[in-house]
């Protein structure tokens, strides 16, 4: 028993991700990981800025920058960023969450220096002007139409988060408000950039076919001159507990089959309980033999689809269960069946065999998690950004998971998945 808790029984040494890390004088945190098995290098920058850092009257800024920072720089014409990447055999992209923005390029390994030039140009002196703001404003509106307005079930997150995180910036979505973006002046964009897109609020992670010493020299060459910004102070928001179940209804013209959601506020990604909730999700809906799938899809045939997942964020998280009915089953009947399984988890310990199954499922996921260089880069950056500067978090995750007991699973389910503290959302077709 003691041995299994210590994590010593893991055979994970073969997969340990090795890395070095250090800070530049301007505060940029640098992480390097070498893997020469394929001629590939991933260059990434994670800025610790997301929609939760926005002014409530100017939502959508962080995501807007995901677009704006491809507009070019003092040394790059408008639109050349993506052209330079692809014409040199690379790929690039970026994504924005409530908590951070992640920019990256993947190149054949002889283009490492180009990747560093691109990311340092972006950090040092990007082109932020009215022409770029106007173009990207249209593009972001199209993105919203595509990903949210025209997408079946695309509005569930905003409708849940509005209630679940009332009083916290998580109450709005990263895409933000189009009216806010229309109203924003160029000065406001420039001020947002100067505040958050500074080396002391960023992690530069490079993974792949590289030479560590040479890469250190190149990083210094391109990033040393980026000036340090003001210290970034994160807002802190304490939310009042939800006292009674909140019920809401949303209508969507893109759907024919309704859905029901139940969402609970849970602790953020640093907490151990968050990991326990990942396990709860797997028990409920991970794989064909999971409890909800077996009962509702296979046995009772009342659900077309059923799922439980942990929407993990930095300050808090949302634990969401959902179902789509089959055979015209009523949404309330689906909710009753889901709730019964939640109560069973809160009351009875899972069996030893289920526990063993969980551990195998997580080990399999862990082994598969770091197969690409960009995946490794993101996981390393996540550790530093979100886990108290513990870059090694990715190497410790499996041991943490393995140390969670059956009793903890029961207790955490009981602590957070309470009916009084949740939002129930009826998601209905708009006639």
């Amino acid at each position: 028993m003691i041995l299994s808790l210590s994590g010593l029984c893991l055979r994970s040494t073969a997969q340990e991700i090795k890395y070095i890390e250090y800070d530049l004088d301007n505060g940029l945190h640098v992480i390097l990981h070498q893997d020469k098995r394929a001629p590939v290098v991933a260059v990434s920058v994670m800025y610790h800025v997301g929609s939760k850092d926005e002014d409530p009257q100017r939502t959508g800024f962080a995501h807007f920058f995901e677009h704006l920072l491809f507009e070019g720089s003092d040394n790059m014409k408008r639109g050349d960023f993506m052209k330079i990447v692809s014409s040199n055999g690379g790929q690039n992209n970026a994504n924005t969450s409530q908590d951070r923005t992640f920019y990256y390029e993947i190149f054949p390994s002889n283009q490492l220096e180009l990747g560093l030039w691109l990311e340092s140009e972006r950090m040092l002196h990007p082109k932020i002007d009215n022409v770029g703001v106007k173009t990207q404003n249209e593009v972001v509106k199209e993105e919203k139409r595509l990903r949210i307005d025209n997408k079946p079930y695309g509005k569930f997150a905003e409708n849940i988060f509005t209630h679940l995180f009332e009083g916290h910036p998580y109450s709005w979505q990263p895409i933000g408000s189009m009216a806010h973006l229309d109203a924003a002046k160029l000065d406001e964009f420039i001020a947002f950039f100067k505040k958050y897109y500074v080396p002391n609020n960023a992690v530069l992670t490079i993974a792949g076919d590289l030479n560590i010493e040479k890469t250190k020299d190149l990083v210094a060459k391109y990033f040393n001159e980026v000036p340090k910004g003001m210290p970034v102070v994160k807002g802190s928001f304490e939310l009042k507990p939800i006292a009674r179940q909140i019920v809401d209804t949303v209508y969507d013209a893109n759907i024919q089959i309704p859905a029901i959601f139940a969402a609970y506020r849970v602790p953020g990604m640093k907490s151990r309980d968050n990991k326990v909730l990942e396990m709860v999700s797997t028990i409920l809906s991970g794989g064909g033999s999971s409890r909800l799938s077996t009962k509702m899809v296979d046995e009772k045939k009342t659900a077309l689809q059923v799922a439980a997942f942990n929407y993990t964020l930095e300050d808090y998280g949302a634990y969401i269960t959902l179902a789509l009915p089959n055979n015209n089953t009523s949404l309330n009947d689906l909710l009753i069946d889901i709730d019964a399984e939640v109560v069973r988890l809160q009351t009875d310990l899972i069996s030893e065999s289920e526990f063993k199954k969980l551990q195998n499922q997580f080990e399999n996921g862990y082994v598969s998690a770091n197969t690409t260089m960009i995946g490794v880069a993101e996981n390393l950056s996540n550790g530093y950004t979100f886990h108290n500067k513990n870059t090694n978090d990715l190497n410790e995750q499996l041991a943490q998971i393995k140390s969670i007991t059956r009793e903890e699973i029961r207790d955490v389910a009981k602590k957070y998945l309470s009916k009084d503290q949740r939002i129930v959302l009826y998601y209905l077709p708009k006639k």
Partner: protein
């Protein structure tokens, strides 16, 4: 049998890094071109027709296997949906274990096992792989076809159909193929409530007997396994499997419209319209045009740096993205350029897409554009090697498409030899402007008059590709 092949990326020239004072206006030159290596799989042939390919890679303590039956497209006719249901039924239990027991066994190992009418996959940690693989074989070879499962899957299919009834994206996917290939072609047919309702469990069993077989089967292992061990496992699971001999289907040829036409489907609630400009093409991978078409497509609509994206998104802001793609292979396929565009800009967007196609057909691309596209392909070839399954994919593609053995070894060499004249020639041949089909699925009242003004030949269809009389 196992060979390691080496080549250099020709387009990414060798350059030394110089250590001068930093001039940021000069973007850095590439370092020495990396060496590209990929391993040929070890290949075995089983007496029942299954080809076994093994790529040994001990990077992670994990193995995956896939089985793929090269039956070609299957024409389902009035029973459209039967192959999908068959795929579902193969996951509903075997003669020795119920679905619940089967799923439990898979999950207990933390493994992933899934099968369909055209094959299956199994992946697991090394220590569990043998058992996971045998479960996949059991699902393929000994399905029990319980009636209750069939009823469940059928009702799910009907519910699913209903769920996408209003989705412009789903309607577009269905109608573009139906109009391009015709309703009697396996690529053009689609399932409906009526076709699903007409399917019986016996239909599913009959389809199983006909199509799930070792004939034309390719079994690929990738990961922490020795070739001999993989072969032994293949023989243990499939060695005594018998089934009908498949022949690759011969399909009726279909043609492009005599004159470019616009086919509309009205979706009242659509926020964006789906535009697809398409024509049929014949492009076997062994065709001398193949590499030139890849580059031409890249230049027109292969990504964020291509003409369509630059024009429709970056210049006009009509859309979040505009792309083109070309099919290839043994059968007729399509070239298509597409975008999801906000309703009020649909007519303008159609004109811009056709304009860019026309430019490709009439003007030689610049040397810079061509070189950029080549560089991109050279780069993606290198990036693709991160995936250890790549070598197996190359080998099975050579076998299936009957390509020369050195197809992938000479791939970049041939690609880098393509000229601007080649690109112009293939654009004319494969990207049609005067015989194209423009399919628009969206809120038609927002753009119909604009399209009419532009003088298009316009037809209207239902979401199921039935002609509607225009008002």
């Amino acid at each position: 049998m196992k060979k390691i092949f080496t080549l250099a990326i020709a387009a990414l020239f060798v350059q030394a890094v110089s250590a001068q004072k930093l001039d940021r206006s000069q973007k850095p030159k590439p370092g020495p071109a990396p060496t590209i290596t990929f391993a040929d799989p070890v290949i075995y042939k089983l007496p029942n027709g299954i080809t076994v390919l093994v790529v040994e890679n001990h990077k992670l303590p994990k193995i995956s296997a896939s089985y793929s039956i090269d039956a070609g497209p299957i024409t389902e006719g009035e029973k459209a949906g039967v192959i999908g249901l068959l795929g579902g039924m193969l996951n509903e239990g075997t003669t020795t274990q119920t679905k619940a027991q089967f799923d439990e066994a898979v999950d207990q190992m933390g493994a992933e096992v899934g099968v369909s009418a055209s094959g299956g996959q199994a992946s697991a940690l090394t220590r569990y792989f043998g058992d996971a693989f045998l479960l996949m074989a059991d699902a393929l070879r000994n399905p029990s076809f319980p009636q209750a499962s069939f009823d469940k899957l059928k009702s799910q299919s009907l519910t699913n159909l209903k769920s996408s009834e209003r989705s412009a994206t789903a309607i577009s996917g269905r109608v573009v193929n139906a109009l391009s290939f015709g309703l009697n072609h396996p690529y053009g047919e689609f399932e409906t409530e009526q076709s699903i309702n007409s399917i019986t469990l016996d239909d599913v069993k009959a389809a199983y007997k006909k199509y799930v077989t070792p004939s034309r089967g390719y079994l690929t292992f990738v990961g922490d396994i020795k070739p001999e061990a993989a072969k032994a496992l293949a023989i243990k699971a499939f060695g005594d499997w018998k089934g009908p001999v498949l022949t690759f289907p011969v399909l009726t040829r279909v043609s492009n419209p005599a004159k470019t036409e616009v086919d509309l489907v009205n979706v009242l609630k659509a926020v964006q319209s789906e535009i697809t400009v398409t024509n049929l093409i014949d492009l076997p991978m062994g065709s001398p045009d193949y590499h030139a078409v890849l580059l031409a497509n890249q230049i027109l609509g292969g990504g964020a740096d291509a003409k369509l994206f630059r024009n429709l998104r970056e210049k006009h802001g009509f859309t979040y993205g505009a792309y083109s793609k070309t099919g290839s292979g043994r059968l007729q396929s399509t070239f298509s350029a597409s975008a999801s565009v906000r309703n009020e800009k649909v007519d303008s967007a159609v004109i811009e897409i056709l304009k860019e196609i026309n430019v490709m057909r009439t003007k030689k691309v610049s040397p810079e554009m061509l070189q950029d596209a080549k560089n991109l392909y050279n780069g993606s070839f290198a990036l693709g090697l991160e995936n250890p399954a790549r070598g197996a994919g190359f080998a099975s593609s050579i076998l299936i498409n009957n390509l020369p053995k050195d197809f992938y070894r000479t791939y970049l060499q041939k690609l880098n030899a393509v000229t601007a004249d080649d690109v112009l020639r293939v654009s004319k041949k494969y990207f049609l402007h005067d015989n194209a089909r423009v399919v628009i699925v969206g809120k038609t009242e927002m753009f119909l008059s604009g399209l009419k003004k532009s003088g298009f030949n316009i037809k209207e269809f239902s979401g199921y590709a039935e002609p509607i009389k225009m008002k």
